[in-house]
Amino acid sequence: MKRASKIYTALVMVFLFAPIAILLLFSFNESKSLSVFAGFSLKWYQELFRDGDTLESVKNTLILACSASAIATVMGTAASVGINKLRNKYVRASYDTVTNIPMTNPDIITGISLMLMFVFIGTRLGRSSSLSFWTLLISHVTFCLPYVILQVLPKLRQMDPSLPEAAMDLGCTPMQAFFKAVLPEIMPGIVTGMIMAFTMSLDDFVISYFTQGSGFQTLPIRIYGMTKKTVTPKMYALSTIIFFVILTLLLISNLTDEDGGKGSRRKAADAERARRARRILVPAAATVIIGLMVVLIVTGSGRTLTLNVYNWGEYISDGSEGSLDTIAEFEKWYEETYGVPVKVNYDTFASNEDMFAKLSGGAVAYDVVIPSDYTIARMLENDMLLPLNYSNIPNFQYIGEDFRNLYYDPENQYTVPYTYGIVGVIYNANVVDEADVGGWDLMWNEKYAGSILTFNNSRDAFGTAMYKLGLDVNTTDRAVWDRAAQELLAQKPILYGQVMDEIYNTMAAGEAAVATYYAGDYFTMVDSQADHVDLQFYYPERTNYFVDAMCIPTCCQNQELAEIFINFMLSREVAIANAEYIYYACPNSLVVEDEEYIEDMGEEAMEILYPEMESFREAYNTYAYRNLDPDTLGYISSLWEEIKIN
């Protein structure tokens, strides 16, 4: 029996810790891949400590978890004492029911319900953004409360009710009776409840996803934002560090506990010491947390200017792998030039639609956003963008002729192009026959059944089918969309999957042989491909051309600052750093004409990113996605659901 239990425990632990072992291993990977181990290196740890935004999101996550669990613990403990004293059976039952609601409601419902309320009230109050740090904190406290109450209440019920009465008989005030007699009794429950609340808050993704405002991004949201570009081993390095910090803390606490086990007199003395320590520790912890929050509020509302930027994940040169930290450069340059400190809050989104949903409801406010063309058109249609004052953006002169006055902004009043690109097909030349290569047919070739990857977003996925069939990707004719849906349904059985950022690891490891994605990202996959994989790339004849551009939404708080930021992004050094980091084509002539940039990128990259064509404008006008009317969008989304459930 004993032995069996040990084996069983070991197996469960292997299961629980297997992914953590993987994290540990790949945090030391030399390449960017999370599935092919290329060699030992510490570089991701260096990267991590250079990545201010990620570190900040860790700090945010901790501040949030500490304050939410502290507030929930105090309020929940007080509430438990109150509930325990309730006489009326029905009142008591209704408290139990309400307390149980956040536990029996999936977190997606808790998140959505809070979001709806905040946004509804926020817009009625005329706030530019309904969501903020406070809404996030409120939401976390709300779902943390039941964990505290459900731990403390049973302890109160087990407690001898005459205990506080005895204390009062001996001359204690009710307050003293509580602190001297009741609190020590229920302390284990309070501590467990607080730890659970802290853990849940730390690990929460869904509720934060719906209730997070601008300028305060937590780690899970940051990771989710990496859905177009990839999650790097940097995140694994971070997890490894967290793991060892926790392990050390636990070891220390276990060692101090162990001393108590020797001799009962010492045990009693120790218990007394522990009790005293707790009496100091709890207020101390509370002070630290309140202090942190005060610091947060003060720094938030100080004289420092803030600029809130909303961009795709991994879509700016952020100082990693020896690149330029453009955000830090901007902050430094701005303070030197204007003598005023500025703080850039750089938040990330996972998709155009994600960004649009958050911004259009007035849930969040940003000063600069970087969406794609068809979403810019959609935002303009909904009056969500401000016209730019181009005299604050002199560097706009370096934007190539081909990238001005495009359909989404015909007079070029609202946008400054950031990157552009073309969608292509990636294949593993060791698996795919050269004869099958070319056009979109490869993506439907039954020979490679089970090895084909396509987009997990409706617009891009429909695009592949429509370009294949030579259909208009911007039609409002439902029959045409039906036809495309048929094509996607026919493809579904031979797909490996419908994915976004998973494509990097899947292709690099040779798991799948054919995929479609944005041109520049192909090189990221090549960089980390396994030995037996030989990734190649081509453009089908008809395919998507896209432009991502910087613009200023109407909720912007400081337009001039936003314009200065946009201008800074166009300056030579910064633009080159971004172009080399993102690896998409750049519309800035300062970049494409730069000898060093051309040399750094290499011949192959230049050929793929900047293919020879008669006119970009012409190709773009023919093949770019345009904004569609809400009816058509609704129809596409129902077709997409049908494809997904098949």
């Binding site: 425990t9 469960v12 632990m13 299961f15 629980l16 992914p19 993987i22 994290l23 999370l34 599935s35 007080a78 004492v81 109150g82 325990n84 004293k85 309400v98 307390t99 609601i101 536990m103 029996t104 409601n105 999936p106 419902i109 319900s113 709806l116 406290v141 709300t142 409360l145 005459s162 506080p164 009465e165 853990t199 730390l202 869904v206 899970p220 989710y224 995140m235 694994y236 997890s239 967290i242 793991f243 162990e258 998709s351 639609e353 994600d354 949903a357 409801g361 349904l489 797909l495 994915v499 998973e502 690891n505 798991e511 396994a530 969008l633 989304s637 129902s638 997904k644 459930i645 098949n646």
Partner: protein, 295 residues
């Protein structure tokens, strides 16, 4: 006398203690639920409508089954059923793995107990998105798991992108939610009860079945709750480990939110909430009866 006296004085203070929570719970638990209902039963202009709710029950799609036949199905009912099915499977597996684990923990010495509780909790302190990501590396066709199988001479198994992968992800993420509540109930169990049962001639299996199991039921029910609920609504696990081939109710809600159909998203959430609240209340009632019967 003094007891009743203080009993009379106390409620004022205690009501005061309860007040912040009462206000908080009404504002941030109850009112938001009213908002879900409000959005579910209104259109974009906030006029009353039943369309959103009806759409959940009536929208249909064509689905081709494995035999290649096309069937007309109710879209959202099917999505809900699939989510529920995966969640129930995951919950059962969590219970099967977690119950013995909790039992072993509760039987161990107090120091071992403490260590094991922390070991079970540690993974939860690491971000769950990252842990899910790591499972992709393990489960891929060319991943660690297949590498190990290969070493002992077994053929590769295709797991990633299948129901099995999604279930593994859910079981992994929510196993601690099952073990901890069961363990905390079992740890409080009076050892003398078990000894008494043994003295009265029960063998180990009988002790388990007649004493431990009924006494542990509150923990089991709360474990089931804590696993079933999050696994019904997850959308990250199905996206990553299911290769995007699974579309669960969480995906549907998120998809509608992203597509800016807030009112329909609210309708799906509202209906799911009602089903789960009724289901859970029913289960709690059942649990209450069992627990009473057991003791």
């Amino acid at each position: 006398m003094t007891g009743r006296d203080s009993g009379r004085k106390a409620p004022a203070l205690e009501r005061l203690l309860l007040a912040p929570y009462t206000a908080w719970a009404s504002l941030f638990i109850l009112v938001p639920l009213a908002f879900i209902a409000y959005y579910a039963f209104t259109d974009n202009n906030f006029n009353f409508t039943l369309d959103n709710v009806l759409k959940f029950f009536t929208a249909t799609s064509q689905v081709t089954n494995e035999a290649g036949q096309t069937q007309e199905v109710f879209t959202y009912l099917l999505i809900f059923w699939r989510s529920l099915k995966l969640a129930i499977i995951s919950t059962i597996i969590c219970l099967l793995i977690g119950y013995p684990m909790a039992y072993i923990m509760a039987r161990a010495s107090s120091r071992v107990q403490k260590t094991m509780v922390t070991l079970i909790m540690i993974p939860m302190w690491m971000n769950f998105l990252i842990r899910t990501y790591a499972w992709m590396t393990i489960l891929q066709d060319t991943g660690i798991f297949n590498g190990l199988l290969d070493m002992i001479g077994l053929g590769p198994v295709h797991i990633i992108g299948t129901e099995a992968a999604v279930v593994i992800g859910m079981v992994y993420d929510y196993l601690p939610h099952m073990v901890i509540p069961i363990y905390s109930v079992m740890a409080k169990m009076d050892n003398r009860l078990l000894e008494a049962a043994q003295d009265l001639g029960c063998n180990n299996a009988q002790v388990l079945r007649r004493v431990v199991w009924p006494l542990s039921l509150p923990g089991v029910f709360s474990g089931i709750n804590m696993v079933l609920i999050p696994s019904i609504s997850t959308f990250y696990i199905s996206q990553k480990l299911g290769n995007g081939k699974f579309f669960l109710i969480g995906d549907a809600i998120e998809g509608q939110y992203i597509a800016n159909n807030l009112h329909f998203a609210a309708a799906i959430a509202f209906i799911m909430m009602i089903i789960l609240l009724v289901g859970m209340a029913f289960m709690r009632k059942l649990a209450g009866r069992h627990v009473q019967g057991g003791v």
